[in-house]
């Protein structure tokens, strides 16, 4: 199931599940749990400022907080995700404080976790997490697509054109491919760049197309699949345009 967690449908889905849960349908919990767990974990991680996996103690606290939020939530309180985020964050901070009191002189006392934790956060904190998650979904999908072409992000970091001019050229080639049916189908079927075509009909510099093959493919894929977040990153723009936006 793919839906960005900052869309209206997503909110509706959650609200629907919440209503079901309130009406006694415990199965609704399972559906919503899978959807919301990444968010819960991400909030925990950001609160603790380190990676929290499902096996960590903090994840358990997040789960409890999740149940608590479901119980206490009311439609008038605004978006469920924001409410949930706040509950999880507060519970984790409570837990950390207790922990600190119990063993004053453990390593946790020496780390600087405590200092960042108590900071108050507003809704933008959780909205930012939602954006991050949405972007993460896009990136994961792109990663899967790229694997079909045998391209990893590591390769991309290696072959990415360093000069702005070259980069814009490569991005223009990618755009060309994405907008042209023939070229597009060639790329998707053969998993290669239609070099001959590009060179003969579009006067594309073979050197650029060859050297930055992986970069061009990745960029084309982003155009093709209309990743809303990532697309804004790879649109060809010159310096002048940059200032405008």
């Amino acid at each position: 199931m793919y839906s960005a967690c900052n869309t209206v449908e997503y909110d509706n889905l959650i609200n629907q599940a919440w209503r079901d849960y309130q009406n006694g349908a415990n199965s609704a919990l399972d559906d919503i749990y899978v959807v919301l767990m990444p968010f819960c974990l991400r909030v925990s991680s950001k609160t603790c400022n380190r990676y929290i996996s499902e096996q960590d103690e903090e994840a358990g606290i997040a789960r409890m907080a999740f149940l608590e939020a479901l119980e206490k939530y009311d439609i008038e309180q605004g978006r469920f995700l924001l409410f949930l985020g706040n509950v999880i964050r507060n519970r984790i901070i409570d837990y950390k404080r207790k922990e600190k009191k119990r063993n004053l002189l453990t390593f946790s006392f020496l780390t600087r976790e405590g200092s960042d934790m108590a900071e108050a956060v507003d809704n933008s904190f959780f909205e930012g997490i939602m954006d991050d998650l949405a972007r993460k979904q896009e990136i994961e999908k792109l990663n899967k697509l790229l694997l079909e072409f045998n391209i990893g992000f590591k390769d991309l970091a290696g072959v990415s054109p360093r000069q702005a001019k070259t980069r814009v050229n490569a991005q223009k080639i990618a755009m060309l491919i994405a907008e042209n049916e023939e070229l597009k189908s060639y790329l998707m079927e053969k998993k290669m760049l239609p070099m001959k075509e590009l060179e003969a009909r579009w006067q594309v510099n073979r050197k650029i197309a060859d050297r930055y093959r992986k970069f061009i493919i990745a960029t084309t894929l982003i155009y093709l699949y209309e990743f809303p977040y990532l697309k804004s990153y790879v649109l060809p723009m010159t310096r002048g345009d940059e200032n405008v936006c």
């Binding site: 993460k136 979904q137 990136i139 990663n143 992000f153 590591k154 970091a157 990415s160 990153y233």
Partner: protein
Amino acid sequence: MSARKAVVVEVGKGWAIVLEPDGEYKKVMTSAYLEVGDSYQLKSGTKFKYLTAAALFLTILLGSIDYYTVQAYAEVSSLVELGVNRWGRVISVQAKDKEGQIVLDTVKIRNDRLETAVEKVSQAIKEESPQMKGAIQTDSRSVKSKNKSNRNLEEKMLKEIDKGLERANKSNNIKNKVIKNNRNKAINQSLPQFRNPSNNEEMAESDAAINEEPEGQKQEKKPDHKQERVNQDDQLEKHKDIPGKKSKTDAVPPKAKQEKDANSKKNNSNDR
């Protein structure tokens, strides 16, 4: 949206691959906690900053090392040896014997130009040890540079020493005259404590020397006749140097000495 951040596309231990706002994929080294999808603020120019800091540090370090490296040793008299760096500044001072040590204790010449250092030292020698009268001679000076290729520096230093000696001589002559003047005044006023029998001979001699000098333009500063003459002599000596004329010993009575110092300072500033 002018300052957009890069987005993290892959993370590992200590590194992350980010997609920059202009479409470039980049691997960054970071120990910060990041996850895929996070935005990442590129720290532009950190490398450059470190490089600049390092370069600056190195420059200062090497510069000061170079400054404190003795390039040549200048021997002004048989008493002292001065180490000079490439910019002609006195870096190290070494006395050859006890006498020299006493002289060096009285002057501060570190980081001075060789010219001024020589001047100070030669004055100090004259003041501190009258019996070493002949210690400073223009022909006893020598410069030995550490590496033989450094002829330029040697010559420059020799010139500076000459200048310094010259200036020391000048101010000494002036001093002597002022002292004489004071002494004459004292004699005129017939104060007995200023009559120093051991110096009478010399006094007469120098007085004779002054009398031999041809007369120059008149300067009217003080009504005192003798003072006037001395001033004339000063003027002359500024224009032509008399190499044979060496400074005279100064067995100065304490009061007169103080006055002399003040006067010589005045004269020095006039010189410059």
